[in-house]
C-alpha cells in the first residue's frame, strides 16, 4: 500500500535516507525503529509529503505522493491520520474543537453530525469527559489520546504514529499500544509506527524495520527481527534488555 522506491534525502548536508526501499502492506502495523537521528521521523514525513525525496518516489497505492501538488496532494493526504510526537493540538481550542477541526474544515457535516462523530471518537479513546478541557489542562498521555482521536475522526485508511509512547510512563505507554492495536483490529487501518521503544514495537508490530545511518538494516516480522544476525539490531535489542528468547515473550505480553 505504501511503497518507498530508492528514496534518498539529505538534510543540512547530511545523508538522512540513502536509497531506502520498502513496502508497507495494507492492514498491517508496520513499525520503524532506530536510534535517535537514524531517519525514522524523516521516513514518516515523506509518506505525507511534509518532506520530499531528493531522489526516488513514495507511492500510496497507485498515487505518487512525493510528486503531488495542490488539490491532488490534499486528496492523497485525506487518506491519512497522523499522531504527532507532541500530539500537536492547537492550544487555543478545547479538546472537542481540536477533534472537530478536520470535520469543520473539510466536510459539510451538520453541527449535530459533527458532535456525534467527535463524541464517538472521544468515547473510543476514553476522553469524552475531557471534551471541554484545553490541551494545557491535560497530561501528556491524555494529549496523545486526543491527538489520536483527531487522527481517526475522518476515518482514514492509514494512521501514522510518530513516537506515540515517547515521554510517557510505562503504564500509559502500554495503554497507547493497546489503543493502536484496537484501532487496527476495529477499524482495519494500516498503521505505521515510528518508535525507539522495542517493547512497544514487539507488542503491536506485524512487521519491524530498523533504520541506521540512513539505510535499512533489518525488515522482518517480529519473530525474525529478534533473531536477526545483524550487529546493529543485536546491539539495539541488548540495549533495551531484550534477549532473543525472553524478549519475544516479553513483547508478546502486550498482545494479551
Amino acid at each position: 500500500m505504501i511503497t518507498f522506491d530508492n528514496v534518498t534525502k539529505k538534510l543540512g548536508g547530511k545523508m538522512i535516507l540513502d536509497g531506502v526501499s520498502f513496502e508497507v502492506p495494507k492492514g498491517e502495523t508496520f513499525v520503524v525503529v532506530g536510534l535517535s537521528g537514524a531517519g525514522k521521523s524523516v521516513t514518516l514525513k515523506h509518506m505525507i509529503h511534509l518532506l520530499v525525496p531528493d531522489r526516488g518516489t513514495v507511492r500510496i497505492g497507485d498515487d505518487v505522493i512525493s510528486q503531488a501538488r495542490g488539490p491532488e496532494l490534499e486528496r492523497m493526504r485525506s487518506r491519512f491520520g497522523v499522531l504527532f510526537q507532541g500530539a500537536a493540538l492547537l492550544q487555543w481550542l478545547d479538546v472537542f474543537e481540536n477533534v472537530a477541526l478536520p470535520l469543520r474544515e473539510n466536510t459539510k457535516m451538520t453541527e449535530e453530525e459533527i458532535e456525534k462523530t467527535v463524541l464517538e471518537k472521544l468515547t473510543l479513546l476514553n476522553m469524552a469527559e475531557s471534551a471541554e478541557k484545553f490541551p494545557s489542562d491535560l497530561s501528556g498521555g491524555m494529549q496523545k489520546r486526543v491527538g489520536l482521536a483527531r487522527a481517526i475522526v475522518m476515518s482514514p485508511e492509514i494512521i501514522l504514529y510518530d513516537e506515540p509512547t515517547s515521554g510517557l510512563d510505562p503504564v500509559t505507554s502500554r495503554l497507547i499500544d493497546g489503543l493502536i492495536e484496537n484501532l487496527r483490529k476495529e477499524l482495519g487501518v494500516t498503521s505505521v509506527v515510528v518508535t525507539h521503544d522495542l517493547h512497544s514495537a514487539l507488542s503491536i508490530g506485524t512487521r519491524i524495520m530498523m533504520i541506521d545511518g540512513g539505510k535499512i538494516v533489518e525488515n522482518a516480522v517480529p519473530e525474525e527481527f529478534i533473531r536477526s544476525e545483524n550487529e546493529t539490531v543485536k546491539l539495539f535489542l541488548e540495549s533495551q534488555y531484550i534477549t532473543r528468547r525472553g524478549a519475544w515473550e516479553k513483547g508478546m505480553e502486550g498482545h494479551g
Binding site: 511534509l50 491519512f80 504527532f84 493540538l89 492547537l90 492550544q91 477541526l101 474544515e105 483527531r150
Partner: protein, 265 residues
C-alpha cells in the same frame, strides 16, 4: 593558504546572504499572495471568528500603549516646535506644525512601530511555537492551509486596524499638543485647534492612512513569514520574534519614506 582565498570566501558568503534574502522575500510574498486570495473565505464561521479575535487583539488590546505614546508624541512635538516658534513670536502656529507632522508622518509611523513591536512579535512567537511543535504540519496534513487558517485573519486584522489606530493616534497626538500649548506656551486650546485644522489637508490624512494600511500588510507578512519559518525550538522562536521586529521597523522606515516621496515630490 592562497591570498585569493579570503576575498573569494567573503564573496561567496555575500552571495549566499543575498540568495537567502531573495529566497526569504519570495517566500514572504507567496504567503502574502496566498493569504490575499483566501480573503474570499473570510465569511466562513471559523475564519470570521478568528478575524474578529485578531481585530480585538490588534485594536483593543493595543489601545493603552498607543494612547500613552500618542499623547506624549504630540506633547513633545508641541513643546519642541513651540519653543522655537516662540523665539519668533509665532507660537500660535504650533497647531498646524503638530497636526501636519502627526497626520502625515508621526501618526502612522508611531502606530506602525508600536504594533510591530507588540502584535507583530506576538504573531511571530505564536506561529513560531506552532511551527516547532508540529502544529503547522498537523494543519497541512489535515488539508487545512495555514495561509488561510492563520495568516489571512491576521493580515486582514492588521490591514484594517492600523489605519483605525492611526486615526486614534492622530487625535490623541493633536490633543496632547493642545495641552502643552494651553498649559506651557500660552496658546488657547481653541486657537490651537483652529490652527491645527486650517492647514492640514485631506490629502495629508489619506496619505497617512494609506501608509498605515501598507504598514499593516508589512507587519502581518513579516511576522507570519518569520513565525511559519521558525525552526530549532525555543531558540528559533526567539530568532523569529527578533527578526520580525527588526525587519518590520526597517521596512516601515524605508516604505514610509518611499510613500512620502511618491505623494509629495
Amino acid at each position: 593558504m592562497s591570498y585569493m582565498g579570503l576575498p573569494l570566501r567573503s564573496f561567496r558568503r555575500l552571495g549566499r546572504i543575498i540568495l537567502l534574502a531573495c529566497h526569504g522575500m519570495g517566500h514572504a510574498l507567496i504567503i502574502l499572495g496566498s493569504a490575499t486570495l483566501f480573503i474570499r473565505t473570510i465569511w466562513r464561521p471559523r475564519a470570521r471568528h478568528e478575524t474578529v479575535a485578531q481585530l480585538y487583539i490588534t485594536g483593543i488590546k493595543s489601545l493603552g500603549v498607543i494612547s500613552v505614546v500618542a499623547v506624549f508624541t504630540g506633547m513633545i512635538l508641541a513643546l519642541q516646535t513651540g519653543l522655537e516658534l516662540r523665539r519668533y513670536g509665532q507660537e500660535e502656529f504650533i497647531g498646524s506644525a503638530v497636526s501636519i507632522s502627526i497626520i502625515r508622518e508621526m501618526g502612522p509611523f508611531m502606530t506602525g512601530l508600536i504594533i510591530a513591536a507588540s502584535v507583530g512579535s506576538a504573531i511571530a512567537a505564536q506561529l513560531g511555537t506552532m511551527a516547532v511543535s508540529e502544529e503547522i504540519a498537523a494543519l497541512e496534513v489535515m488539508s487545512i492551509n495555514p495561509n488561510r487558517f492563520l495568516v489571512m485573519p491576521r493580515l486582514v486584522a492588521l490591514a484594517i486596524m492600523l489605519p483605525v489606530l492611526t486615526v486614534y493616534t492622530n487625535i490623541l497626538g493633536i490633543l496632547g499638543g493642545g495641552i502643552v500649548g494651553a498649559t506651557q506656551l500660552g496658546v488657547s486650546f481653541q486657537a490651537y485647534l483652529d490652527n491645527a485644522t486650517r492647514f492640514a489637508e485631506n490629502k495629508d490624512l489619506f496619505v497617512g492612512l494609506f501608509k498605515a494600511f501598507v504598514f499593516g500588510i508589512i507587519i502581518a507578512t513579516v511576522a507570519c513569514y518569520q513565525g511559519l519559518s521558525a525552526t530549532e525550538g525555543a531558540v528559533g522562536v526567539g530568532r523569529a520574534t527578533r527578526q520580525t521586529v527588526i525587519t518590520s521597523f526597517l521596512m516601515i522606515l524605508i516604505v514610509g519614506y518611499m510613500i512620502t516621496r511618491l505623494f509629495y515630490i
